[in-house]
Subunit: 202 residues, 2 copies
Amino acid sequence: MNTTKPKKSPGRPVSFDHDEALDKALNLFWLRGYEGTTMAELTKVMGLNRPSIYAAFGNKDELFQKAVNRYISEPTAFIAEALKKSKSRDAVNKLLNDAADFMTKKNTPPGCMVVLSALVCGKESENIKKFLISCRDNLECALVQRFKVARKNKELPPDTNISELAKYYVTIHQGMAVQAASGATKKELLSIARMAMNAWPS
Amino acid sequence: MNTTKPKKSPGRPVSFDHDEALDKALNLFWLRGYEGTTMAELTKVMGLNRPSIYAAFGNKDELFQKAVNRYISEPTAFIAEALKKSKSRDAVNKLLNDAADFMTKKNTPPGCMVVLSALVCGKESENIKKFLISCRDNLECALVQRFKVARKNKELPPDTNISELAKYYVTIHQGMAVQAASGATKKELLSIARMAMNAWPS
DNA sequence: TGATTTATATACCGATCGGTATAAAAATAT
DNA sequence: ATATTTTTATACCGATCGGTATATAAATCA
C-alpha cells in the first residue's frame, strides 16, 4: 500500500543535500580530529547554520559518529574489497598498498580518520575514543577471520599465530597513518608496506 | 669570584619543586594530549595556581614543549641507550622491546607522548603538531646515522636502503604507540616487535 | 485563502577556554 | 623596624566552547 507512496510531507523542504553536508563534516573531522573541530568551523564548511546541523545530524558526538560510519562505508571500502582476494597474502598486500595510496590522496586529509581522530583526548571525549577503538578492532577481527580461512585452506602454516599476524598488520596500517599525518609520501608508505610483507609466514 | 656565591635573592621563595611539578604536567599531557589538557586540570594535578605555572613555565604551549623535552631526556632515555649497542640489529631489537615495556608501564599513560599528543589538531595548535613531528624526525635521523655506520662496518649489505629501513622501524614504533593507546598489552607489543625484525636485511 | 507543519536565520545561553590584574604573604636588604 | 623583591592566592578578563530559544520563511493540507 504505502510502499509506492512518495508521501510528500508538509513544511518547508530541506534546502541542502544531506550526504553532501555530511561529507563536508567528515573531511573537517578527518583533518582536525574530534576535539580540534569546532561547531563554528563545521557550520562554515557545511554551509549550514547550527540549528540545521543539530536537526539533521544531532549533536557533535552524533555527527562525528555518522561521519565515521560514512567514512567506513564509502571512502575506505577498498579495505573490504582487498579482503576478498583469493589468497590472504594478496589481500594483505593489496590492503597496505591501497592504504598507502588512500592516505596520501591530494583532495583528502592525510592519514586515516579512524586511527587519528581521537587517540588521546579530554575526559568528555572518552566515549568517542572508545568508539574509534572499536572501529579499529573491527578491521583486526576481519583480518583474523580472513586468516582462519586461509589456515584451513593450507594457505598458511597450521601453527600460524593468527591473532598476532592480524595485530601486526593493523599496527603497520596504524603506523602508516601516523606517517601520513607527519607528511610521508605515497612512495615512502609503499616501501613500508613492502617491508612489512617480510613478516609473512613462510 | 661569584662562582661559589649561592647569592640568595630576596623575595618570597618558591614553595614547590620545579621538576616535580613539570613531571605532573608531563603525565597529564601524555594522558590527554595537548588539546585535551586544560589549564584548570593542570593546576589541579600540579598543585599550583595559575600565576605560579605561568611564572615558572610560561603559557600552555611553552609548558607543553618543556614537558616534551623532559620526556625525551628522562623517561625515554632508553632509546639513546639502545642505539649504543655494538650491532645495529641488536640496537633496533632492544629499542622496540624496551618500547613495548615502556608503553605499557603501570604508572604512566599508555603509548608514546611524542607520537600521540597532537597528530591532528585545530588551527591554533599546528605549531605544536609541527614541533612533535620534528621530535619524531630526530629519532628517524638517529636511526639513519646508526645504520650508516653499520653499513660501513659491513654489518649491513652495501645496497641497503638505509632511509627506508629507518622509516620502517619508526613506523613500527609509532604503530605500537597507537596499539598501546588502544589497550594493547606488553605481550602483544613484544610480538609485534618480534615480527617487525623479520624485515631486517639478510 | 487560511491553518498547519517543517526548516531556516538570528541571536543568545551558561560553561569553559587560556591568560592576567591585583593585592596579600614571605623572604632579603639596609 | 622599614623598604624592597618575589611568590602566592583570589578573582576576574574577553573569547570561544557546544547547544538552543525564538521568530520568520516556505512548503502542504483543508
